[in-house]
């Protein structure tokens, strides 16, 4: 059957267009009940064995959901033992239209057989399709469609019971009149068996506890007013960013304005939450102020407003108009789009009753008021909460509890928090993914041997950090005539991961393996990462080889790529390889091979540096874990060996060679990696720091910078050069993947390595980009076939965007994990350590402690304390106290302890030990008597120290690029 849908659309230029579309009505759509004989059999998860138990209805029933229930209460639906749910296509379309994330979540529910969901395509079914009436609103029409489907089901299956769950009271009333049983989800869930946890998860969007409650916030303008205001230029749209230090302050970045707009106080912020797209109104220029310098923390209880009023007063009193720091000031008048998500955090202690306050770990998010019946239990837990609404009368946004992650302070809980906060996919691999794995025992067939070059006789070895189980690269070098033949052999992961399979899509979505201190979240299942792909010593493995003929001055004579079978003779650690090279008595093939490689690597490195490649530094530490208790035993700086640099050089060389090859064969869709040149303003802190030392840092080109850094040496401070390099590292931008067809050739440049072309080829076990590159290269050398997505540049670019995001998040997660373990290690410890001043600030010193790779703030004066014995010289960047002058990069001795007052935000407290300043410094630990307890300099009112922001948790230094 056939009908048309007509609708009129306005085009951008203001013409009215009439669109007519076909709409087919079918007679082959099934009701989804296996027992039904009237309909064609169809795959359906509806099951007569599942019973929905709700004491409001003393019979078994099937449930039909309205759109609003799905949009608001998905958390409950996910959790509750509610099954046998019929999702109407009308509802599905509406959900998709309103929120894509919720639609995706809904689909995982629908696809889960144990949930017993069924999609009924009511809008194409001959008996349930109804036409929209003239002048009927879309909402009313959809409601009518839903009711029509309900009554059809009742008629079609007279022996079954159906209940419509909807939050729309009108819809409910009409449904009841039409003889349909309709119910709101609130009473439904309340009357379910075992509802205690479920009830907490109900979204509180529509609850009005007290209609007379005083409004605490000004109202928001409606959408029309906002849009008119923006159009007329009286209002500005932008993204709201909350201050982390002052809960009554925030900024709105407006594209049209140069400066961010400062908003302050309850009325100024007006319920905006970090990340929201808001609309601001600017004050008169005479009312503009400079950002406050005080730190305010929200210390309020559930309904208490006194605290906030007093703090607003404090804010007003300290308001200043410092010249040069005055910012455009305004207030938020409306919200265009909320960017609320799920937040990790803990409950605020000391509150009784069902209403509790949730304190998010992210300090830019306000506390959230939730209703729970299990507060005592939740107080011991890290939990996830989401925001539902923020009514005018409520001091805090209303939200609901989603789930508990585990006990506060547990390693596993904290790992979970780190993974969630960084959006790292870390669930178990699904059955579907695992089914793509090769069956064991895995054997090499004759067919395989025929297709690959047999290199099993070559003396190949791998060199990695100790304990490495995912070995993705191995090397060899041998004499061929006058020249040398060098081979880099990379695990042939793309042989096992075929494009488009569930395994491929999962790896693509994960993008990278994430390394936490005591946990590795694999990109591909263990069987591949630690076994079949890992180039273990003494085992036959598939590899993708890049082989050069090189003369003894490290000039490449020719390059070739092919798939191969190798048998690594030995898997070495950096240290073992170093010892083999150094041990003159060893003269076997492996030792010779390593010596040649080392010799070539030195030439390659020298040449690279001469071309302007940068040597950057960031303190890298390794945390030694107790294997039983999983507690950190010690933290040590990673040892450096020449062999690390040796392996790195050949990996770089392989990556560059491969990049050239794939770009040549796939000019549009090669997956490359670029490192953009940083804007010169990024270097300001570095240049400034150099100037105070009397050093000129040139930044005109990478080469100039590299040279300036090399020359910046002062014999009296051997660590100075490293610190400058650390500063330089912070001026850099992130390197990113991209599809070659999306950018101009000039933009392919890799700044850090100073090469025009670069890609990632050498770590396919733990990076998805390398898998794409392997596939392209395989096509290039005729070892594999292309497939559609591989040649689609926009698709490749889309994948690259995801990889860039995942990489960044993996890096942050790794750092967060080190930070957590460093904290754990220092709990209850007190230690004097050698440190260096990285920056001199107005009231503090930023100190780097290389031994632990951490950076923390040494406060010279407390906020509000007038007795500051230090004198700040902005010009020279120094702090003077009596006859001691502290410069940037000066070595200092500091006492290190951990302040755990705030269990979510523990931080390091530093005290100066030497140089000794009367009345400020503390005596060294050895001389200290018992009365000198570490004063807990209540970190509460202090700025974030950004502890060990630069810690890295990388597998090995060769991955830096």
């Amino acid at each position: 059957m056939f009908t048309t849908k007509t609708f009129i659309k306005k085009t951008r230029i203001g013409h009215f267009l009439k669109h007519v579309r076909e709409h087919y009505i079918r007679d082959d759509i099934s009701c989804g009940f296996k027992s039904c004989e009237k309909c064609q059999p169809v795959e359906s998860f509806l099951s007569p064995d599942h019973h929905n138990k709700c004491s409001l209805f003393n019979y078994n029933h099937y449930i039909i959901l309205d759109t609003n229930v799905i949009l608001d209460q998905l958390d409950v639906l996910e959790e509750a033992p509610i099954g046998n749910v019929i999702i109407l296509h009308t509802v599905l379309t509406e959900v998709k239209h309103r929120s894509l994330p919720i639609y995706k979540k809904l689909f995982t529910l629908i696809e889960n057989p144990s949930k017993h969901y069924y999609i009924f395509t009511n809008d194409h079914h001959k008996d349930t399709y109804i036409e929209q009436l003239d002048g009927e609103l879309v909402n009313d029409y959809n409601d009518r469609c839903i009711r029509k489907a309900c009554s059809w089901y009742m008629e079609h299956l007279p022996n079954e019971k159906f209940i419509l769950l909807t939050e729309d009271a009108d819809n409910r009333n009409i449904a009841n009149e039409e003889g349909i049983t309709a119910c709101s989800i609130f009473p439904y869930v309340k009357h379910m068996n075992d509802n205690a946890v479920l009830e907490d998860k109900l979204s509180r969007k529509e609850i009005y506890l007290d209609k007379d409650a005083k409004d605490l916030f000004p109202p928001h303008l409606n959408n029309v007013e906002l849009l008119t205001g923006i159009k007329e230029g009286t209002l500005y749209q932008g993204t709201f960013r909350a201050s982390r230090d002052n809960f009554l302050e925030g900024y709105v970045s407006v594209e049209a304005l140069e400066d961010q707009v400062l908003v302050q106080g309850r009325a100024g912020l007006n319920r905006a939450v970090d990340g929201d797209v808001v609309v601001v109104e600017l004050f008169d220029k005479s009312d503009w102020i400079s950002p406050s310098e005080i730190i305010l923390e929200d210390e309020g209880g559930v309904e208490d407003v006194k605290d906030i009023e007093q703090k607003e007063k404090e804010l007003k009193e300290t308001a200043t108009k410092k010249k040069g720091e005055i910012k455009p000031t305004g207030k938020v008048v409306g919200i265009i789009r909320r960017k609320w998500r799920q937040y990790c955090g803990i409950l605020q202690g000391g509150l009784e009753g069902v209403y509790q306050l949730f304190v998010p770990a992210d300090r830019s998010i306000p506390k959230i008021r939730i209703e729970t019946r299990q507060a005592e239990f939740l107080k011991t837990q890290k939990l996830i909460v989401t925001i539902d609404s923020w009514p005018r009368y409520s001091r805090y946004p209303h939200g609901h509890f989603v789930r508990a992650l585990g006990k506060i302070g547990d390693q596993t809980t904290e790992n979970e928090v780190i993974l969630l906060e960084h959006d790292v996919p870390h669930s178990q691999f699904s059955e579907e993914v695992l089914s793509c794995l090769p069956k064991l025992p895995w054997i090499i067939t004759d067919d395989d041997v025929q297709k690959r070059v047999d290199l099993r006789d070559l003396d190949i070895c791998s060199v990695d950090p100790p304990g490495c189980t995912d070995i993705d690269d191995a090397l060899h070098c041998r004499e061929v005539g006058d020249h040398l033949e060098v081979g880099v052999h990379i695990a042939d992961v793309s042989h096992f991961i075929r494009p488009g399979t569930a395994l491929d899509l999962e790896a693509q979505s994960r993008g990278t393996t994430v390394y936490l201190v005591n946990n590795r979240i694999d990109m591909v299942p263990d069987l591949l990462s630690s076994n079949l792909c890992s180039l273990r010593g003494g085992e036959e493995r598939f590899a993708f080889s890049c082989i050069w003929e090189i003369d003894k001055n490290a000039n490449i004579l020719n390059t070739r790529f092919h798939k191969s079978i190798i048998k690594s003779k030995v898997a070495m650690t950096y240290e073992e390889a170093q010892m083999t090279i150094d041990d003159k008595s060893k003269n076997d093939n492996i030792a010779k091979s390593l010596r040649y490689l080392n010799m070539l690597a030195k030439i390659l490195k020298k040449r690279r540096l001469e071309n302007g490649a940068l040597v950057l530094a960031s303190p890298e530490v390794k945390i030694m874990m107790d294997s039983e208790t999983m507690e950190p035993l010690d933290i040590e700086v990673k040892k450096m060996f020449q062999t690390m640099s040796m392996v790195e050089e050949f990996m770089l060389l392989a990556n560059i060679s491969v990049a050239e090859k794939i770009l040549q064969d796939f000019p549009e869709c090669a997956c490359l990696r670029r490192h953009p040149v940083p804007p010169s303003s990024n270097f300001d802190p570095l240049i400034k720091a150099g100037r105070h030392l009397g050093l000129e840092i040139k930044i005109d080109s990478g080469k100039d910078l590299a040279k300036s850094l090399d020359d910046a040496v002062k014999p009296d401070n051997p660590y100075l050069n490293t610190m400058l390099r650390i500063l330089a590292t912070r001026c850099m931008l992130q390197a990113v993947y991209f599809a070659s067809g999306t950018l101009q050739k000039e933009d392919y440049f890799h700044y850090g390595l100073a090469v025009p072309l670069y890609t990632h080829f050498t770590s396919p076990i733990r990076r998805y980009a390398d898998i794409i590159v392997h596939r392209l290269l395989a096509v290039s050398c005729g070892a594999d076939a292309t497939y559609a997505v591989l040649l689609d540049k926009s698709k490749t670019n889309e994948i690259c965007q995801n990889l860039n995001y995942r990489n960044r998040m993996a890096q942050y997660a790794g750092r967060a994990s080190i930070a957590f373990n460093t904290h754990l290690f220092f709990k209850g410890k007190l230690q004097d350590e050698q440190g260096y001043i990285l920056y001199v600030r107005k009231n503090a010193l930023q100190v780097l402690i290389p031994r632990y790779g951490l950076e923390s703030t040494l406060y010279l004066a407390r906020k509000g304390e007038s007795s500051n014995i230090f004198e700040y010289n902005e010009e020279d960047q120094t702090q003077r106290a009596k006859d001691v002058v502290l410069h940037a990069f000066d070595p200092v001795k500091v006492r290190l302890s951990l302040n755990s007052d705030n269990i979510q935000h523990e931080k390091f407290v530093l005290q100066l030990v030497s140089p000794f300043i009367e009345g400020f410094s503390v005596p060294p630990i050895e001389e200290m008597d018992t009365s000198c307890e570490p004063t807990n300099d209540s970190g509460k009112k202090r700025k974030s120290t950004g502890d060990e922001k630069k810690n890295k948790n990388k597998k090995s230094p060769k991955n830096k690029n």
Binding site: F2, V20, R21, E22, Y24, H89, K96, L100, I119
Partner: protein, 253 residues
């Protein structure tokens, strides 16, 4: 999962069809009396009129005439009201010229042109409403008009489009909405009985991996269309026949 989903998880397309289903086809032969043959064809909302004149003597320059076969002259046009945006010129633009030539190519493959040396057949098609798959509908309409005109043809020439839903599932007879949202569209004109393809066109590049299955889908579409056209022709013949009385013998069900 993007917002673009040509085939929903339950296997229905945006307009409610399944991947292998054609749009509704309605057609009628002999809609005009003036031309020698005519037909009206609807595929979904795409509506086309076709008229055939001839065979007759070559008009205009005699030099165009062929000594061993007849000249097929096709003219394609689109009514100004046929698309959502008003068209400025009904014919003569590049797209129309191209479609005219493609139509000619398809028809030349079936008309027994050798029967009419020194003569010409004119085929005019006009799109009344365009909603995707203009060319196939024109070919199908022209085939019917030729039959109505009584011009001998080897077999039906049918045309159909196919594309790929969600980068995986081939689907047939693409609507305008699907054309706009989806990837490349493949158009073929074929002789469904012998399985010969006389014209094939792609709107964008297809990956080789997909080409076979999409082409097979389009070919299947042509076969399905042939059956519908065939039924329409038989019905038409019966109607005319019953008016004159002679058809009753063969269709006395």
């Amino acid at each position: 999962m993007s917002k673009k989903e040509l085939l929903s998880k339950i296997g229905l397309r945006l307009d409610g069809r399944r991947a292998h289903e054609l749009r509704r086809i309605r057609c009628k032969l002999g809609v005009f009396t003036e031309p020698d043959g005519s037909a009206y064809m609807e595929q979904g909302l795409t509506k086309v009129l076709a008229a055939v004149y001839g065979p007759h003597q070559v008009r205009g320059s005699k030099s165009k005439a062929h000594h061993d076969n007849c000249l097929i002259n096709c003219q394609f046009s689109m009514a100004v009201f046929s698309t959502t945006d008003r068209k400025k010129r009904p014919r003569g633009d590049r797209k129309s010229t191209e479609l005219s030539m493609h139509l000619q190519q398809a028809l030349e493959s079936v008309i027994k042109t050798e029967l009419y040396p020194w003569s010409q057949i004119d085929v005019y098609v006009e799109v009344l409403h365009a909603d995707g798959g203009i060319y196939p509908t024109c070919v199908n309409a022209a085939t019917l008009a030729l039959i109505d005109a009584g011009i001998p043809i080897k077999e039906y020439v049918c045309a159909c489009t196919a594309s790929l839903a969600n980068n995986d599932v081939p689907m047939v007879d693409i609507s305008h909405q699907e054309e706009v949202m989806g990837g490349p569209t493949l158009t073929i004109a074929a002789l469904p009985m012998s399985g010969k393809i006389v014209l094939m066109e792609m709107s964008q590049r297809f990956h080789l991996d997909h080409l076979d299955k999409v082409m097979n889908k389009a070919l299947q579409g042509c076969k399905d269309i042939r059956q519908i056209l065939d039924a329409a022709v038989r019905l038409h013949v019966r109607d005319i026949g019953s008016a004159t009385g002679w058809a009753l013998t063969s269709y006395n069900e």
